[in-house]
């Protein structure tokens, strides 16, 4: 068999393989002359076979391969080592431009051929470029990380540190060598091995991939005690896999500053309270001897008059006058401190305006005459009466008139009063016009500030403390009005008081809000953008506790109501105005604005005052979990027919239902009895708390109607007793009272009563109807408990 064709076959076969390789290959003899190249070589370098074979490698393509590094490689390395790997060559090739080639060389013995060198060239230009890009991006990212002033740690998912930023190393005074590739807990002798941090990193980050603002207080060996705010993000970082970025913000100083600010605030509040208390006590202590001075001088004056001691009379009048002046001053200071302490209350009553004006005029007349002034009174015919705090209205008018009298000589002081319709409601407008010295614009601005007179020289010339106008303004604002002034220096001033003809009970929020020190010169425009309320069938649930809110919502929805919820008093008020609900359930204990405050605000809103409000409080009931107990509600729409249904709800399974009426007034007891018996109740009566408690021992009622002011044990004490008795505590108590309760009294009843009814200010029929209605509404919380 002939060997030759067989060898040729093999060589063809080898050449085929070589041609198939996609990487350019050169076969050189030991003299570095090209024996052959593969197809990839010719295609890559755009050269022909003729230009290539039998050429010295350095001569190829006009010497484009004559590269010093390659010479070294081929002439020094290959002869001795017979192989080289991954020699990277960057070169500008005439035909194909700048390229990065990865060269691999092998020296082979190929059968009958002498030794050949196979030179493989891989074009890695693109790969190198993208690697460089990536490096640039990483450097860029690292630069950003290093620029961040907050210490950052980059962890892998096993919580091993990949790197830290410059701020980290600087803050914790550690080197990258001590940090990188270590478990976070091992860093700096385990100073980061903090249980709270472990929980965070091991429990929270893996599942939620992020946590925000975790505050960590810890003793760091290098830094001492520090408060750190930790934020973490889990992110996918390309070939790095999943990483956790942990950012640490040192908030120690901030927290300290906040703490100090809070302490300072508290201290100043305490100081302010102390000041108010001191003023109140001081005023009281001053008033007692002053009362004696005023009283005795008045008495002596009377006696002196009787005995015809005229010269004594003049002096005694001076003592008396000065005493009164001092007394008025002390009262002003007391009032102001009371307003500042938020303790000033309004006592609203209806009174006739003409009578009030006559009274004020009579009081002020001696002062007016003193400076030879004339007092003119003008009032519109439809003036009528108003509902306001009479004492404060009188004082406001008196203050303005006495100022006018003080700053006017031989002039005219006019007081006019009229009824006006503004903003769809009735207002009473008083104007005090004088022809006195007037005020400049600059002085007007400071006019209503506490303890400030228009200027210091005024004090010397005219006396006074400058409290009067500040008080006047505060009084007017408390009553929902204001006082404004217009003045021309040298011609006189006009002070205008505008008050609602019917002043509403103030809500606590408004009363506290006297930071509003805008200049009172321009009366404010009321914004009138209230949209027309859409007809609604929704119940509004106001509760700060989300679980309670949800429970209530679900219950009410199940009962077929549409429900909207509010998480705070403020939100509740806003929603209530927006939707006008059919009923409101209101939590008593809420932060910021509590239930009573919300209730008062609701009732001062015209559109909301008729909406039934059910006050709720959480009662601890180990068997049923959450339970509701209504506390108070005041409502107008009355439905007598609902009574029997409600009594049934009151677990009055066996008729007649036992009801206890506790009232010291026999007439009230009798009328209640009649009404309740008509509704199939069995009525027991007691005239005070002690008797009621004794009765209850033998005859447990299902419902209690309670008067508050009684001889012996009063309603407050009684309610307390009932609520501390394990078997009685669940009996609903309905308070029946002749008067509005103060906030303090309400607090005293806190949690003890179901609702409070008013005995006065309405007809008997209205009153009884209210009780029936109360029964109805009281049943709502019972449904929840079932």
């Amino acid at each position: 068999m002939d060997q030759q064709p067989f060898v040729e076959d093999i060589e063809t076969y080898a050449q085929d393989i070589v041609d198939t390789v996609r990487e350019p290959l050169l076969m050189l003899d030991t003299n570095l002359r090209v024996q052959s190249a593969n197809r990839a070589f010719y295609e890559t370098f755009h050269v022909s076979v003729a230009e290539t074979e039998d050429q010295l490698i350095y001569e190829l393509g006009n010497g484009q391969w004559d590269i010093p590094d390659l010479r070294t490689l081929l002439e020094d390395v290959i002869p001795t080592s017979s192989v080289f790997n991954d020699f990277e060559l960057e070169h500008t090739f005439p035909n194909i431009g700048r390229r990065v080639m990865l060269l691999n060389g092998r020296k082979l013995r190929a059968g009958s051929h002498s030794a050949i060198i196979v030179l493989a060239m891989e074009d890695v230009t693109e790969r190198r470029r993208s690697e460089a890009d990536l490096r640039a991006i990483e450097t860029y990212a690292q630069d950003i990380v290093d620029t961040v002033r907050e210490p950052l740690l980059i962890l892998d998912t096993t919580l091993r540190v990949q790197s830290g930023n410059r701020a980290f190393y600087r803050t914790f005074r550690v080197s990258p060598g001590e940090t990188e590739n270590r478990l976070i807990y091992e860093l700096g002798n385990g100073q980061w091995d903090i249980p709270a941090l472990r929980t965070l990193l091991e429990d929270i980050v893996p599942t939620s991939s992020v946590f925000n603002d975790f505050e960590l207080e810890h003793d760091f060996p290098t830094l001492g005690r520090r408060v750190m705010l930790l934020n973490a993000r889990k992110l996918q970082a390309g070939h790095h896999g999943e990483l956790v970025v942990l950012a640490m913000e040192d908030v120690t100083e901030r927290r300290r500053a906040e703490e100090e600010a809070a302490k300072a605030k508290e201290a100043s509040e305490i100081a302010n309270r102390t000041k108010s208390m001191f003023l109140a006590n001081m005023s009281h202590e001053l008033r007692t001897p002053l009362n004696a001075i005023v009283g005795y001088s008045e008495m002596l004056h009377e006696e002196a008059e009787e005995q015809g001691l005229d010269s004594f009379c003049v002096d005694l009048e001076k003592i008396n006058g000065s005493g009164r002046q001092l007394l008025a001053l002390i009262n002003d200071i007391l009032d102001l401190s009371k307003i500042e302490a938020g303790k000033m209350e309004l006592f609203l009553e209806s009174f006739d305006l003409s009578a009030l004006i006559d009274e004020v005029a009579a009081t002020i007349n001696p002062m007016v005459k003193k400076n030879a002034n004339v007092l003119k009174i003008e009032r519109s015919t439809d003036l009528g009466g108003m509902r306001a705090d009479q004492v404060k209205v009188r004082q406001a008018l008196y203050n303005l008139l006495s100022n006018a009298a003080k700053f006017t000589h031989e002039g005219t002081i006019t007081l006019d009063a009229e009824r006006q319709r503004m903003d769809g409601s009735e207002w009473i407008v008083f104007r005090v016009v004088d022809t006195g010295i007037g005020l400049s614009a600059e002085k007007l601005l400071r006019l209503f500030q506490d303890f400030t007179q228009a200027d210091a020289s005024t004090t010397r010339k005219f006396g006074g403390t400058g409290l009067g106008l500040a008080l006047t303004r505060r009084f007017c604002q408390m009553m929902g009005g204001d006082v404004t002034v217009r003045s021309v220096p040298g011609e006189g001033s006009t002070f205008t008081i505008k008050l609602p003809a019917i002043v509403k009970e103030p809500d606590v929020e408004r009363q506290d809000d006297h930071d509003d020190e805008r200049a009172p010169i321009v009366s404010t425009d009321r914004r009138d953008d209230d949209p027309a309320p859409a007809p609604s069938t929704c119940v509004l649930v106001i509760d700060d506790n989300a679980a309670q809110r949800d429970l209530m919502r679900r219950f009410l929805v199940k009962e077929g109501y549409c429900v909207r919820c509010a998480a705070s008093g403020e939100e509740g008020l806003r929603l209530a105005k927006e939707m006008i609900p059919i009923a409101i359930t209101l939590d008593v204990m809420m932060p910021e604005m509590d239930g009573w405050t919300v209730l008062r605000s609701l009732q001062s809103e015209k559109l909301l005052s008729d909406v039934p409000v059910i006050m709720l409080t959480m009662v601890d009931d180990p068997e049923r979990g959450l339970n509701f107990g209504a506390k108070e509600y005041l409502t107008k729409p009355v439905n007598r027919r609902r009574l029997s249904r409600i009594l049934k709800r009151y677990s009055c399974a066996t008729q007649p239902c036992p009801v206890l009426v506790v009232d010291d007034d026999a007439a009230v007891r009798a009328s209640m009895r009649t009404m309740l018996e008509k509704n199939e109740c069995r009525v027991t009566e007691a005239e005070n708390g002690e008797k009621a408690l004794a009765l209850m021992e033998t005859d447990r009622p299902t419902l209690i109607f309670l008067d508050l002011w009684m001889e012996g044990m009063d309603g407050f004490a009684f309610a307390d007793q009932v609520r501390t008795h394990p078997e009685w505590r669940s009996i609903p108590i309905i308070v029946v009272t002749a008067h509005d309760l103060t906030a303090g009294e309400r607090k005293q009843l806190n949690g003890n009563v179901e609702m409070i009814l008013k005995k006065s200010g309405q007809s008997r029929e209205e009153f009884l109807a209210q009780i029936i209605d109360a029964l109805d509404n009281c049943a709502v919380p019972r449904l929840v408990a079932v």
Binding site: N291, A292, N331, L346, W709, H739
Partner: protein, 123 residues
């Protein structure tokens, strides 16, 4: 002669008011605390009681409630006297059963007017 019971713990106030009332022809009896006030009201049945509200032993509110719930004394008009025009005081005084209310320092003409309204003017 109109018989007035003045219940007041402050000596000077007591002295002043009693002398001024006596000068106007009233027969003035004095009690210095709430307990004495209640006792004297029961024993003496005065035409009218002027009741200070901050009193030792039993305060004015309590004394008023006691007098106003007892059959023998409930018809005696009581005017509450309080230190300052606190609306809560006024409210409380009326709630306790007082027939009228006045503030200190005493404005004698005003007080006399209120007394007259309750027991008729002295002839």
């Amino acid at each position: 002669m109109r018989r007035i019971l003045l219940v007041e713990d402050n000596e000077m106030n007591r002295d002043m008011l009693s002398r001024r009332l006596q000068r106007r022809g009233y027969d003035v009896m004095i009690a210095v605390d709430g307990q004495e006030g209640v006792r004297m009201a029961q024993e003496e049945s005065p035409d009218l009681i002027l009741m200070d509200m901050s009193l030792p032993l039993i305060d004015g509110w309590e004394a008023t409630r006691t007098l106003k719930t007892a059959v023998e004394t409930k018809m005696i008009p009581i005017i509450a006297l309080t230190a300052h025009a606190m609306s809560t005081d006024r409210d409380k005084a009326l709630a306790a059963g007082c027939d009228d209310y006045d503030t200190k320092p005493i404005e004698l003409t005003r007080l006399l007017g209120k007394m007259d309204a309750l027991i008729g003017a002295l002839s």
